[in-house]
């Protein structure tokens, strides 16, 4: 953590809340708000969004004034490895079957760590895939096909 001009975690969290609140207000603008005695579908989301907006402004303001905290740098490898693995699984599971989706997810996820070794991952991936098929399809009867065909 280095010394900075702003309190970056507070500032980022505040900005995030403001964005969510603004997004909600835009998304619910077509909904009927109603009155307190007879609330419409838009009443609660809008009320909560306004509270979040207040929280967001508070944190962002505090972050600008207080200062001197940085955010630890983001490392791309872990988040990309895990993220792509999950995404590929989501793309493959419905058409390519559990076996391929599992094996691909393990291989890609392993790339997220610098310590993974190539052959170990291949062997381990095959073993886990077999285990997952046996556990989820044979034992727990998850309705999904094993193979693409």
């Amino acid at each position: 953590m280095t010394r900075r001009r702003f309190d970056w975690p507070d500032l980022a969290f505040g900005a995030f809340l403001i964005a969510v609140a603004a997004g909600t207000l835009v998304a619910t603008r077509g909904l009927n708000g109603g009155t307190a005695a007879d609330m419409g579908p838009g009443y609660m989301p809008r009320a909560i969004a306004l509270i979040l907006l207040a929280f967001g402004l508070f944190f962002a303001g505090r972050g600008l004034l207080r200062g001197h905290v940085g955010i630890e740098p983001v490392q791309l490898r872990p988040i990309l490895g895990v993220g792509v693995a999950v995404g590929v699984f989501a793309l493959l599971i419905e058409n390519a079957g559990l076996a391929l989706a599992s094996f691909a997810a393990i291989l890609i996820a392993a790339a997220a760590s610098r310590e993974s070794r190539f052959f170990e991952v291949i062997v381990f991936g095959l073993a886990v895939t077999v285990g997952a098929v046996l556990l989820f399809i044979k034992a727990l009867a998850l309705p999904v096909s094993i193979w693409p065909w």
């Binding site: 979040l52 490898r77 693995a85 793309l91 997810a105």
Partner: protein
């Protein structure tokens, strides 16, 4: 005696062969994830939720509960032998437990930890049984007004007692409440914030949210830290503690059980806060506080008893009022709803064999844990030899399959991915995700009761303070909030949580 009738009814449920079997599965899985650092009970329970759908409600809850308190046992094993807390609740056990192990007394330390946990678990089971009846009866008098106030109390208390910044946690609760409003509005049938996605019509499923924020985001953050070398080299000789050990540990065990039971019942309670409090108390009461941190057996017995008692009594608000005390209990509510049971006080009268069966199963489960933990400790320790580089891809895969399995939709997997990214952002900016999950699960209930209460009162919000029970509940919230603003309390809280 109604109490004994109820416990007998519970035991007859818990002792059925299939329930004993699911209890055993639960505690074995619990011990395993407790031993392994880097995977906690929340993603595990979330992962197994979809597969409890086919079970009877009692079996499902018995198994999921077993995972939770089993994890407390497993966590202490790694804390003592390797100085790595498997769970947050066993952080304090590292202090004296590992020191004992270094002095060659790993056996007695493990035995005392297990005995304390078993003792606390047994007492906590009785505490739950005693408190469940009056609380359940009280809750039946509640209308929408009282319910709303109770939910508010639960949410606020959970935020204040949990660790992390109070203001940020409050913001997270509201964020959770907001996400909870996504989907078709039950009163008007209008779709809210679904952005035309049909999968969102029923609202956001909390399983992908929980797995993304607790499971995957945690993994990504773990991978950024340099790997810790784990050294396991301890010959386990005699596990039997000496008479002097037992004599020193027993009072600490009693006090720990009491603290754990009391703190566990509070909303926001659970397994994390009690052991810290118990350790601080033992240190204060000891004739020679300098022994602590150098292998004092009281420093193992007290916190271990406290975390198990707390883990179990945190079921009380869930079973009697239908309100979760922490994020894990929120998942339990989800398990009930998947079974078609609306959580609330009526569950106790409508499904007594479910509630009492779960309570009684905690005792049978603790007995099983004692047996699978002490003689088999070597087996659990060898699990630690699985390196994290192999463990994490498997966890990622199981999260994917589990999320997909809830409703066989790839949409949930994408949702989990999104939540993982947001969860990673929360870790980076130092915000706890647990309050968000509580808000998400309680949100629909809160809105429903609020709207109904306002309708009854004709839009006059003063109804919440003119009804006595509701006024009392909200007064407690106000006192807690005011107390948090006073600098003295703020300082003590900071110290208590940092210790």
């Amino acid at each position: 005696m109604e109490l004994f009738d109820n416990l007998l009814l519970g035991l007859s449920t818990a002792l059925q062969w299939n329930n004993l079997f699911y209890c055993l599965i639960g505690v074995v899985i619990g011990t395993a994830i407790g031993v392994l650092p880097g995977i906690g009970p929340i993603p595990t329970v979330a992962l197994l939720l979809p597969f409890t759908f086919g079970l009877a409600p009692a079996s499902a809850l018995i198994m999921l509960a077993g995972i939770f308190y089993g994890a407390q046992y497993g966590g202490s094993t790694t804390a003592i032998l390797v100085n790595v807390p498997g769970e947050t609740s066993s952080v304090v056990t590292c202090l004296d437990g590992h020191e004992m192990a270094k002095q060659g007394r790993a056996g007695p330390a493990l035995a005392i930890a297990a005995i304390s946990s078993f003792f606390a678990g047994t007492v906590a089971t009785i505490v739950i049984a005693v408190l469940a009846l009056p609380l359940g009866a009280l809750a039946l008098k509640f209308t929408a007004v009282e319910y709303f106030s109770l939910l508010v109390l639960g949410l606020f208390a959970a935020v204040i007692l949990a660790h992390g910044s109070v203001s940020k946690s409050l913001a997270m609760v509201f964020l959770g409440l907001l996400i909870g409003t996504v989907g078709i509005d039950v009163n008007s049938g209008v779709a809210r914030m679904t952005f035309g996605v049909p999968a969102l019509a029923d609202g956001l499923d909390f399983v992908p949210v929980a797995m993304g924020m607790f499971g995957l985001a945690e993994i990504i953050a773990n991978l950024e830290r340099p790997a810790v070398r784990q050294v396991v080299s301890q010959k386990l000789r005699d596990l039997v503690p000496s008479r002097a050990d037992l004599k020193a540990a027993f009072p600490a065990m009693l006090r720990g059980t009491f603290i754990g039971s009391a703190l566990g019942v509070l909303p926001g309670g659970g397994a994390a806060l009690p052991p810290f409090t118990a350790y601080a108390l033992e240190k204060k009461l000891a004739k020679d506080p300098s022994r602590f941190g150098k292998g004092a057996i009281e420093g193992v017995a007290g916190p271990e008893a406290a975390n198990n008692a707390g883990a179990q009594t945190s079921f009380i608000p869930l079973l009697t009022l239908g309100i979760p005390a922490n994020a894990l209990m929120a998942l339990m509510i989800g398990a009930l709803m998947m079974q078609g049971i609306q959580p609330g006080p009526q569950v106790m009268t409508e499904q007594p064999e479910l509630v009492w069966g779960v309570i009684a199963s905690m005792w049978t489960g603790n007995l099983m844990l004692l047996i699978i933990n002490l003689p088999l400790v070597g087996l659990w320790v060898s699990m630690l030899k699985i390196p994290y580089r192999l463990l994490f891809p498997a966890i990622v895969l199981f999260c994917c399959i589990g999320t997909y399995g809830i409703s066989n939709s790839a949409f949930n997997v994408w949702l989990m991915l999104g939540c993982a990214v947001v969860g990673y952002f929360f870790i980076k900016v130092g915000v706890e995700p647990a309050p968000l999950l509580l808000g998400l699960v309680l949100g629909p209930q809160l809105e429903e009761n609020f709207r109904r209460a306002m309708q009854l009162a004709d839009g006059d919000p003063s109804v919440f303070v003119t009804r006595p029970i509701s006024a009392l509940l909200l007064a407690i919230v106000a006192i807690m909030l005011l107390a948090m603003l006073s600098p003295a309390v703020l300082k003590t809280r900071k110290r208590a949580l940092a210790e």
